[in-house]
Chain length 339, copies 2
């Protein structure tokens, strides 16, 4: 491997314990970015730098002190969220999502006493729809009425390939019920394991104490580098570039899949970074995904994202990392497997 | 500031989510290091890479699932540990330490039902004594008898200035009751915010799941760099060099303080990286420490480390970072303040 030469300037070398709530510069940059890109006005004192989404989720669960109370999650929804709430001892209720996102009325019917809802309003994970404004308002009204909390998992931030990303749910929150979690895993690199959480002002002190004792912000150098990346405008430019690149890759993927799709297999784009392939009922998406590992394509099976039957069988194909040369052949082989 | 040019070779660039339990290479190196330097034989699968000591403590508190049970801490002891256990809702009992370390019999008398003890057996924080072998065996016997857990805070590892560091308490643990926490904060740099925890084999799966959902290991690049530092032998050599350097600095500090000490103010070395100055009862160490901030010396007041009165008034002076030229004058001014 060739040697990489890099010139580093200006950054003072950090030598002491980093602020456990996060590097002040990074917290300032994150707050500024959220104001611009997510419509979310907050003070840097409300921002905590975390070990990605899961680090933030752990801190939120600890800080909200909900014990064994009930929590709503989206069905289908991110399996890690479900596992985390379960391991923390909460009573998890799967609430269905429809074209407008989480069905708030269904949540109220099945778990009226819940004290937490974890949602992906920007691009529902995994189905990709954006939560509608009426649903957002209904969810916020429920939280106010029930003295409950909402965790907004904003995993893609503005990195949405279809149209312009909606503002964050937290931007509509006048009552301080929403904890907004963002991450650099999809927008820069998962290898950074870097994320952040914006908490309502009343919680910032308690969360800061918890971070100091039990979940401190990560290495100073990583935080400083990302702060600089944001401050100098590289991050916004990078996102713009990635949107164009991923949209082009998605178009190629959709075209290749379209050429080989059949009546029993539906292909659809989501607002996120994946293309969804819906399989017939009798297929096993887990099985297909396992067998597909021999290609460049590494689809994630859809059914494990469901808590309750009927579990839609399907495949989620990421568009970020494709080998365009091999794509036509790989798509054909994938859909042959799925048939 | 001059540009820093650095050539990086050999390390493959990490591009995906790091293993939430920690980089496999680093876990392997940590296990090998602990076997050599701390007499602690463990499998890399028992090692979790954490956000320093506090990240490990948070994970341990979550993973042990002790709810509102009782916990012993050392008195005096590390304030952050006390705060963490308190915030987690545990009933904290301060157990006195004597020349042999934590007084196990006193713990049994005052909180017989405790299910956790957090100790610093290597170099008691802050008093610096090493826990004696009989005490270690008594503590392990208590844990076995009471179905309780021990967290070993091995914050200095082998970086001990007086004699050779004793093996880790966990090396004597045949029953899987000890969680051993180490950190690179004192031995490399606190700016890394990097630590690790060795859990008994029966806990490694549960802790791995918790780490994945709520407290993942930090950025891949930081872990890989430290793994390389260990693998190539730099870490062991660095510790050896630091021991010599810090011992010399400590000797200088003790000499300067000795020249100005008086009958009412006692100066004593600890096994750790600090020199302790014991002040008369009527002094306020917090006040002296605040006023001393004007010098290079930034002593930590001793009394906040105590939970129960009488709280010894004193100052802890770190030896790692001293301005030797200014030292004689600063020591004189410090002890004038303390008088």
């Amino acid at each position: 491997m060739a040697a990489v030469t890099k010139t580093v300037t200006k950054l003072p070398a950090p030598v002491t314990y980093p602020d456990p709530r996060g590097d002040p510069e990074l917290r300032k940059e994150v707050a500024a970015y959220l104001g611009l890109a997510r419509g979310l006005r907050c003070n840097p004192s409300q921002v905590l730098v975390t070990g990605g989404f899961s680090g933030a989720l752990g801190l939120a669960i600890r800080g909200l002190q909900l014990g064994r109370m009930g929590a709503w999650i989206e069905d289908p929804g991110f399996p890690l969220t479900r596992t985390a709430l379960g391991l923390a001892g909460m009573a998890v209720t799967a609430v269905p999502v429809d074209a407008e996102g989480l069905d708030v009325a269904a949540g109220v019917r099945s778990a009226p006493g819940a004290k937490l809802a974890v949602v992906t309003p920007g691009q529902q994970a995994p189905l990709g729809m954006t939560m509608s404004l009426p649903r957002r308002l209904a969810l916020l009204a429920w939280a106010r009425r029930s003295d409950a909390w909402i965790i907004e998992d904003d995993y893609l931030s503005e990195l949405q390939l279809k149209g312009r990303a909606a503002p964050a749910l937290a931007s509509l929150d006048d009552e301080g019920r929403v904890l907004h979690i963002g991450s650099f895993s999809k927008t820069i690199s998962p290898a950074l394991r870097l994320g952040f959480m914006v908490v309502p002002p009343e919680l910032s002190r308690r969360f800061g104490e918890l971070a100091a004792c039990m979940a401190p912000a990560p290495a100073a150098a990583v935080q400083r580098a990302v702060a600089e990346f944001l401050r100098e405008g590289h991050y916004i430019r990078h996102l713009r570039r990635m949107k164009r690149l991923y949209a082009a890759r998605r178009a190629t993927l959709l075209r290749c899949l379209g050429e080989v799709a059949s009546d029993s297999i539906k292909v659809q784009a989501t607002a996120g970074l994946a293309v969804m392939i819906l399989l017939p009922e009798f297929a096993s998406d887990v099985d297909v995904a396992l067998r597909a590992l021999q290609f460049c394509l590494a689809p994630a099976p859809l059914s494990p994202w469901y808590m309750q039957p009927p579990r839609q069988q399907g495949l989620l194909l990421g568009v970020t990392n494709l080998n365009e040369r091999r794509l036509p052949a790989d798509c054909r082989r994938l859909l042959e497997l799925a048939r």
